[in-house]
């Protein structure tokens, strides 16, 4: 798969999802099962993308696991998107420096 064809495909699929309902489908969705399904999709997708990939994204699974734990803790304390991200990245740096020391 070439990068160019992949970029075109991504752009096309994403745009069609937004454009087709705007011009073609003017009927409102009332099916409660479908509304619930669409409501849950973002959370299922984001979690499936994060676990276990985040643990394997760094040089050592230990630092990845620490980063995930730190991100959850800061998010529980209502940290902003940016703060959660920076704390997780800082946790990776600190953990990997510690691993290299031992």
């Amino acid at each position: 798969m070439s990068l160019w064809s992949a970029i075109l495909l991504m752009a096309g699929v994403t745009y069609l999802l937004r454009a087709l309902p705007m011009v073609a489908l003017r009927r409102r969705i009332t099916n409660p099962w479908l509304l619930d399904f669409l409501h849950y999709v973002p959370y299922a997708v984001l979690t499936a993308m994060t676990v276990p990939a985040m643990i394997l994204a760094t040089e050592s699974p230990i630092s990845g696991l620490v980063a995930l734990g730190v991100a959850v803790l800061v998010a529980l304390r209502r940290g902003s998107l940016l703060l959660v991200a920076l704390c997780a990245a800082g946790a990776v740096l600190a953990t990997e420096a510690l691993i290299n020391l031992i």
């Binding site: 798969m1 990068l3 064809s5 992949a6 970029i7 495909l9 991504m10 752009a11 699929v13 994403t14 745009y15 999802l17 937004r18 454009a19 087709l20 309902p21 705007m22 011009v23 489908l25 003017r26 409102r28 969705i29 409660p32 099962w33 509304l35 619930d36 399904f37 409501h39 849950y40 999709v41 973002p42 959370y43 299922a44 997708v45 979690t47 499936a48 993308m49 994060t50 676990v51 276990p52 990939a53 985040m54 760094t58 630092s63 980063a67 995930l68 991100a71 959850v72 800061v74 998010a75 209502r78 998107l81 959660v84 991200a85 704390c87 997780a88 990245a89 990776v92 740096l93 990997e96």
Partner: protein
């Protein structure tokens, strides 16, 4: 004129979104650099997609050498919620907004820009279009800066930056899971099933995300129904 122009007001209100997009897209740019995507193409992806989780899923599938089918289904599924927002926005615009204008506004349907529009008493072509401009600039320029920085940063820093986007996903899911028992079950179920399938192996990452999302969302919709107001009712999202 005593009341401010709706388009000017929309442009002003979109500034925090643009700044937020800039910082989040820095992380996407860094992710592109890790996968050796050229800086200009990283910017092109952001400009043509305007979707953090969709782009991230797409890049993950591309990086894992997935097929076109896997890429199309994966990106479509991650971005499925835009269908709902597009239907909702389409109804709010009313019949005086024509097809060409709708096709232009469709490019600017994101969680944040949509929410901003729904928060206004009336949504028209000029104000929705105005609210798209700065966020698109912020999202694209942040990606380019992040991708360019990723090429010159030392290795340990790039390793640390690899968790930025994942951490942001955590920051989106955790507060929602605290506020809703159903979302908590969905997140735990998705994490469990995803880890299980990953440990078994033999499944491309794109298919794994697709299967986990459909199975968990369908199970939750069946056994954990919500009683929330639907997106189409015109209720202002909180």
């Amino acid at each position: 004129m005593t009341t401010p122009n709706p388009a000017t007001a929309a442009l002003r209100d979109s500034t925090p979104i643009a700044l937020g997009y800039f910082t989040v897209s820095l992380a996407f740019g860094l992710y592109c650099a890790r996968l050796d995507v050229p800086t200009a193409l990283a910017g092109l992806i952001s400009f043509t997609n305007l979707s953090s989780s969709g782009q991230f899923a797409g890049l993950t599938i591309i990086g894992a050498g997935g097929s076109h089918l896997e890429l199309a289904i994966g990106v479509a599924l991650v971005n499925l919620r835009y269908v709902l927002m597009a239907i909702s926005l389409g109804q709010r615009l009313g019949p005086q907004v024509g097809t060409a204008q709708r096709l232009l506004l469709a490019a600017g349907i994101t969680d944040e820009i949509y929410a901003l529009g729904m928060g206004r008493r009336q949504v028209g072509f000029a104000d929705y279009a105005a609210s798209m401009v700065l966020p698109i600039i912020g999202w694209t320029s942040g990606t380019i800066v992040g991708a360019a920085a990723g090429e010159v940063l030392p290795a340990p820093l790039v390793s640390a930056c690899g968790v930025l986007l994942y951490a942001m996903f955590v920051a989106i899911v955790v507060p929602a899971a605290v506020g809703s028992r159903q979302v908590l079950v969905v997140a735990l179920g998705a994490a469990g099933l995803s880890s299980l399938l990953a440990s078994i192996g033999g499944l491309d990452v794109g298919w794994r995300i697709i299967i986990v999302t459909i199975v968990i969302s369908a199970a939750a919709a069946t056994w954990l129904p919500t009683r929330r107001a639907d997106l189409d009712s015109g209720v202002v999202p909180s």
